[in-house]
């Protein structure tokens, strides 16, 4: 911990950054914190409760954050991939941020606790399933001790496969039920590090492609679009699902699309911003089995 705090302190002391975005101890567990003075660096923590994807706070349109000055941000693997996404899409300049990598061995499924839980198959977050980043590579500095692989947990792929095995009508019933709870509050969007549009398509009128009314028709249109816009971009950080106040299993949709872009185009989301996203690129011999 002191390594993280010392690093942050040095960055602030030397004037290399004006704010360090990390995690602190909050009333209900870890939460994001914006440290602007070296003295406050002792608040910084990192443990299995630090689930928040801090890349979300690098959205250049969050003027209340850009107003704080040049930022250093603490990133675990999924955060680093999201930062790469923002760089890939020209939302950030690499020189404009400092990335403090933390070694991460997985985060908790239920992080709102006063002490970090021991990670086990039962307590680890489903999002960590298949995560291949113990230490982010694209960072400016790396802190923390070497971490073991996260415990093997309920396989997200198994849950996707179980849905895949159903008939379309059964899947439709499943999703109608799940999506009927959606109030289109857009917490999923706001929690997503890559949903960073100035004006979301759902807020565009003339025409209003996506009905903002939270009946299942509007909800289907919204979630189809959210997922399609994240296809090949989603880093699998699981923040959308965690943010959802009514418990819609958005992780299943995101995981499915990760599988699809891999199966169709051999693409896995990369920590390297130079690797182009699969939608927006093409190969002349892309699969077209589905085309008559």
């Amino acid at each position: 911990m002191s390594e993280l705090q010392d690093t942050a302190r040095r960055l602030l002391d030397e004037g290399l950054v004006q704010v360090v975005i990390g995690w602190e101890e909050g009333p209900r567990g870890a939460r994001p914190v914006f440290v602007t003075s070296a003295a406050d660096c002792e608040r910084l923590i990192f443990d299995a409760r630090c689930v928040h994807n801090l890349a979300t706070f690098l959205n250049p349109r969050r003027s209340q954050i850009t107003a704080l000055g040049k930022a250093a941000v603490v990133v675990k693997g999924c955060d680093a991939k999201a930062v790469a996404g923002l760089l890939r899409e020209a939302q950030l300049e690499r020189a404009g941020i400092v990335l403090i990598g933390v070694r991460c061995g997985g985060v908790a499924g239920e992080p709102a606790t006063l002490a970090p839980p021991a990670l086990s198959a039962e307590t680890v977050s489903a999002r960590c399933w298949g995560c291949d980043v113990r230490e982010p590579e694209s960072v400016d500095m790396l802190v923390g001790e070497a971490q073991p692989e996260p415990p093997v947990t309920a396989d997200l792929d198994e849950r996707v496969a179980a849905l895949d095995a159903l008939s379309p009508a059964e899947r439709f019933a499943f999703w109608t039920k799940e999506l009927s709870r959606c109030t289109q509050c857009y917490a999923c969007r706001q929690a997503c590090p890559l949903c960073c549009c100035e004006r979301c398509i759902v807020e565009k009128t003339e025409p209003q492609w996506i009905e903002t009314s939270p009946h299942p028709r509007g909800n289907f249109a919204w979630h189809l679009t959210r997922a399609q816009h994240l296809a090949g971009r989603c880093v699998g950080c699981g923040e959308c699902e965690r943010a959802c106040p009514v418990g819609i299993p958005l992780g299943l949709i995101n995981r499915k699309l990760q599988q699809v872009v891999y199966e169709l185009y051999g693409y896995t989301v990369s920590e390297d911003p130079a690797v182009p996203a699969p939608i927006g690129a093409y190969a002349t011999d892309d699969t077209q089995d589905f085309i008559e």
Binding site: V160, L163, D164, S167, P168, A169, E170, R171, F172, A173, F174, W175, T176, K177, S180, R181, I201, W209, I210, E211, S213, H215, P216, R217, G218, F220, A221, H223, L224, T225, A227, Q228, A231, G232, I253, K256, L257, V260, V261, L264, Y265, P278, I279, G280, A281, Y282, A283, T284, D286, T287, Q288, F290, I291, E292
Partner: protein
Amino acid sequence: MSVVNQPQRSGERAPDDSGRATAEFEPRITAFVCNWCTYTGADLAGTSRLHMASNVRIIRLPCTGRIDHVFIVKAFERGADGVIVSGCHPADCHYTAGNYHARRRFGVFRELLSFLGVDPERLTFSWVSASEGGKWADVVNETIERVRRLGPFDSYHGLAGAATPADDPFARFEMPAGATGGTAAAPADGHDAASQAPSGTGDAS
């Protein structure tokens, strides 16, 4: 299509869905096609007098690259039972690569729709060149037959309450009365459930 002999339908026509779940079911297909290949291929089908089913309504766009997935979603919302997306064969795109980009996007979107329970059989993607009038007729006829077998897509049309709001303007989705279980009664992709309970209207009031 009980309206076929009433061409005087008024602008605020009240669509008659009464026969839609019966054996006479005629699917409604919306086709999004590119201007240069498929639209011209459909022109050729006409010039060649290739007869085909009349249930397809074509929306002309410059290129499959222009076709957004929200078009398909909106078409289903507005009563389509099936959708055709058709453009130029690979390497034939008038704009070089629009069809390649469309192929990627729809390769993903088709899987996504399917995962959310929209039977991919309701969607046809095809390459029809300007010289393939015959192929266009086949695509139209085959799509209609396939969708006819699946039945009307009332499960989707009814997602906002009544399948026909004009007939039942107060049908609405309300969380308390309908509760989560109530709305889940509506889904069922065509087939039995849909014909028994064409919409979720009853649950709401």
